[in-house]
Symmetry: C7
Subunit: 96 residues, 7 copies
């Protein structure tokens, strides 16, 4: 990734998760207004606290994350679509 | 729970409480616009104060909590529905 | 009370005050858009200052308080109706 | 006054000032949209600064004050009407 | 002036400035939506910084000042009209 | 200039810049919604940080500056028109 | 560049990037509502933290940056069009 996000911004590549139902059958997640899953591609240095110190991001490159469907801004880099958003727009890291 | 909430976010599993009337009969809580009861499934590390320190969450995994009916965002993990919200959206812990 | 409020929240039980007129006759307070009187049932640990310290609440369990008629959220616990609100929604303590 | 205001709130009893014209004749202040004059009946302990310290109120019981006509909330205590408002809603103290 | 302004408020007496044109003829300033000129009659002790310290006002009694035409609140004291406003509503001091 | 701006305000005299086109011909800037160029006539002492310290202005008397066309307030001093605005309304200093 | 931006402002020269599709064909970016690419022409000294310290900008002259299409203000200097905006309007630096 040739983009270096500024402040507490992150570049995310959306992924289409397969959901597993209770009965064990995988169903694609179609028309639901659910949060989006993605992979962190690049992370900024962090934002400044009100006293001017850097607050380091809690996510790192390669993390799987959940974020609001309408968060951030679309950006295309070398023909690929990404989202760039503030770290505070990320809800959670998806553990392995 | 494979979700690790970020900042002061919590993952909550809604529960359908049975209310006990004064006379001792249990009634399901139907059409009321009341706060929702749930169980804390996962807790983030806490948010940053304006000076950059972490403020530790006051709730922990397994706590029964009360939160606003319209707080947070729905999220589905492995076929189960959860809510993810800020700790400040939680009103109270339900003691045992 | 099995509810433990979070942050600077308080649980209040509304009471119907009897007002005494100048001439000494008691009249129920009927249609007036006046603040509400209640009793503090439970108090949270307090909110955080911007530097992360806890600011202790100034009210305690058993205090009679005055609060805005439209403050807070209704909540029912074991068949009883309560209000849960921020301490800053309370106007005053009613002395004895 | 049995009310103990919380934070930086004050209880004020409105007074109807008689205005003296330049020519020396007293006229009641009738239809004007002017600030209101009142007497401080009770004062809260003060509000918290962003670092959590108490900022002491600058007014005290018995002070004559000027405040915005639409500031605060009406409250009746033992048949008497008062206003409860934040100290920041007070414009000035009326000196003797 | 019997009014003692609170916080960073000032009492101002509006004055009707005579403007001097480039050619040297005085013209009254009539229908223009320009800032207003006035004289400081009384000054409050100053406002609190976010850490609770007093920030002393930069103006003093007797200063000629310029302020927004729609700033502050009209107030009448002993038959005279004044304006009461925050010091931050003042644009500049008019030097002699 | 007899005006002494308060806080971080500056008095600016608008100037009508002549723009040089790429081909070297000067054209007056007519109907464009572009920022305005002006000269700093007077500078206030600076604004207070949230902790109460003065933040010194970065501009000084005589600086050529660029500012938003709709920033600040018109003011006339001895028949001359000026603008008074906050230093934060200035975009840039024009170097020589 | 004869403009010296104030605070955390930057002067940016928009560039029209050629996008490379997955198949390797270059296509001009036409009707898309995507962020804009530009080059940093000048950088201000940085903004003040709430305690009055300068927060140094993270970008420098010559950096390629991505910013919101509707961020900042157009400005023309010697017949050339530029954008002036806050550093926080920049999303990312484009690495080489």
């Amino acid at each position: 990734m040739k983009l270096k996000p500024l402040e507490d911004r992150v570049v995310v590549k959306a992924v289409a998760p397969m959901e597993k139902t209770k009965g064990g059958i995988y169903l694609p997640d179609t028309a639901k207004e659910k949060p989006q899953e993605g992979e962190i591609i690049a992370v900024g240095p962090g934002k400044h606290s009100s006293t001017g110190d850097i607050i380091k991001p809690a996510v790192k490159k390669g993390d799987r994350v959940i974020y609001g469907k309408y968060s951030g801004t679309e950006i295309s880099v070398e023909g690929e679509e990404y989202m760039i958003m503030r770290e505070s727009d990320l809800y959670a890291i998806v553990g392995k």
